[in-house]
Symmetry: C2
């Protein structure tokens, strides 16, 4: 998508950017980072009045390559269905920013970064981070880019949590929020699945308490973590439709431990390919940040009070077969936003594809996002 | 529960029995076992007319200690709520048999057994087995015990699959079948979760392609497998009620990778304690047998035809919050049994406890089983 890159000569803008911001960068834990590197991309141009900036936030295993090819896998951007020319988030009309989250492994400071204090990788000496820390890192990036107020902050899954937290943490800088397939907190079941993944990584002897060499990562443990998580991204209905009990390249049962069923082969591929683009320690830190997420926690469990200072408009979208962040979670948000007096539109969309639906072709989702963004422009 | 053990001097009957049956024992794969050892227990006495025999079948990680203390953990039998004096399955009235499944690790031949042909453990040289093979092993045990026709075969989860398969494989030997929280086949999602567990075990370097020493098992991998599976045994609702986002022994977030949330601590405990009583290779083989289970497969997908030869009565029970073997699976069985002209009663019980509900105190379940067994006695 190089064609939609800004023509600006300003090196802050464009594809595959890096910036190193001087610290200290304070974290929710009380610790701080001496320096904050951020990997990001921008698409389109900032309007003279600065009013067309849209921040897109990525999910657990996403990155800044929302609408351009991934440098490691060569695959198209992860949300080209929503972001791109003629799409609801359009570089012809919007100035689009997407950055790798704090704790990530695609250019933003995380456990695989070098600790300037020691010259070694942080590994597990990296401080535990939160969704709020990710949001504050994005705010620092906006300062660097000269973006004051966002027309919108948009995200799905963990990206939606960041979008919601933007309205809580920086209410004066957000005019509208789009949260898709997301929730105001991580449930016990969500935490449980993450804990399985973390234990799988930590059980891998290659993990070495986090101090693995970059070319000798705990790939087996990370693959198992990804496989377990991947099941939660799909629905039982979708898995049955896609694979059922169909066998892989066989006429009958092989009485073996090979990947005999198609669903086994698919999962193994998902696990393996993930390890080629993601850092195991980043997976530990980002899942931990997700588990910590609970917007109401600082307000005695009263979610509405979290949004008391916000004047943003909200659009929430859920999918019928999403059991990771089900519609009940979205409704909880809608009730709280209503109680807080916020303008909120909510739409539950039919889909058989589970949580993954937000990344797939979803014309109704596009219409909802497009209409919401145009109404607030 | 030694008090309810039969007073018979016949060494075939009683607690903690072992028998070694001469082979060859033919398997569904076409392979055979030279010898078949079975670990089992019996409770009560066989009536003179032999008409009071009830076979209880255990689930994936169960064993023959249905109503007596477990020799390794010291915990009470796993189904004392249903089996015992004054319970629906009562040693005062019934002759109760429960055996460790083929492939298990509590006395029945499995991958941890010695292969008589080599003098070494089978490990991964053990043939891949099926639910049908488990059922046929039980039939061989009944021959040894002098039991012809079963008044009932009763099981939950994988035990229910064996109970159903008894009516298909040995229709002349089964008068009634009780299947609780079970299904006629493993779904794609069921297979996917098992595959995660198997990959976790196989990724553990201690696994050594199955040839681990008994005192150096792949415990870390097996613990992760158990954790992933355990989530599927509980409901989101149950997890939320039991743990929510409550912290473990802490006033606030610790910003660490310790088990900060109660649900993490619980899962880690479940994983760890499981490794002290279960063999990793058995876990591989038994999950494989479950994945292979599909009663309709031999009948061109027509489930009703599987039951064409059966004259048994059936009772099926499902639980509202069970998402491992949900009510929809039980309904599929009911439709097929109706189509086959079988007498079938079906009951969906309210429970917030997910799949695990069948192992918990469930007075309604007890009433259903008691009434059904008495009506057919």
């Amino acid at each position: 998508m190089a064609s939609v890159a800004t023509a600006s000569l300003d090196q802050r803008f464009g594809l595959d950017r890096r910036v190193s911001l001087a610290g200290p960068f304070a974290l929710a834990s009380g610790q701080s980072l001496a320096r904050l590197d951020i990997g990001y991309e921008t698409y389109g141009s900032l309007a003279p009045d600065g009013g067309n900036a849209i921040l897109v936030c990525h999910a657990l295993t996403g990155d800044q390559y929302v609408a351009s090819d991934h440098p490691l896998t060569g695959k198209p951007g992860w949300w080209t269905r929503l972001v791109g020319p003629g799409r609801p988030i359009d570089p012809e009309r919007h100035f689009i920013i997407c950055s790798n989250v704090l704790g990530g492994c695609m250019g933003t400071t995380g456990p695989s970064s070098i600790d300037p204090a020691t010259g070694d990788r942080y590994a597990m000496r990296f401080p535990v981070i939160t969704i709020r820390d990710m949001v504050n890192a994005q705010a620092a990036l906006l300062d660097h880019l000269g973006v004051g107020v966002l027309q919108a902050v948009v995200g799905g899954s963990m990206g939606g949590m960041q979008a919601l937290d933007w309205a809580v943490a920086h209410p004066a800088r957000v005019r509208s929020v789009v949260g898709i397939a997301t929730a105001a907190r991580h449930s016990a079941q969500n935490i449980a699945f993450h804990e399985v993944g973390r234990q799988a990584i930590m059980a891998d002897p290659m993990w070495r308490a986090g101090d693995y060499a970059p070319d000798a990562p705990p790939a087996a443990g990370l693959a198992v973590a990804r496989m377990a998580a991947h099941i939660t991204y799909l629905s039982e209905e979708g898995l049955t439709a896609k694979f059922g009990r169909r066998l892989q390249d066989r006429a009958g049962l092989g009485f073996s431990f090979d990947a005999e069923f198609q669903v086994e082969s698919y999962l193994r591929h998902q696990g393996l390919s993930f390890t080629q683009r993601f850092d195991a320690n980043s997976y530990l830190y980002i899942t931990r940040a997700l588990d910590y997420f609970d917007l109401a926690a600082a307000h005695d469990g009263q979610l509405a009070r979290a949004f008391a200072g916000s004047r943003a408009r909200f659009a929430l979208v859920s999918f019928t077969s999403d059991w990771l962040y089900p519609t009940s979670q979205a409704r909880r948000l809608v009730r709280a936003l209503n109680a807080a007096g916020a303008a909120v539109s909510f739409c539950e969309l039919e889909s058989p594809f589970g949580h993954d639906a937000f990344l797939l072709e979803a014309p109704e989702m596009n219409r909802v996002v497009d209409g919401f963004l145009r109404a607030g422009a």
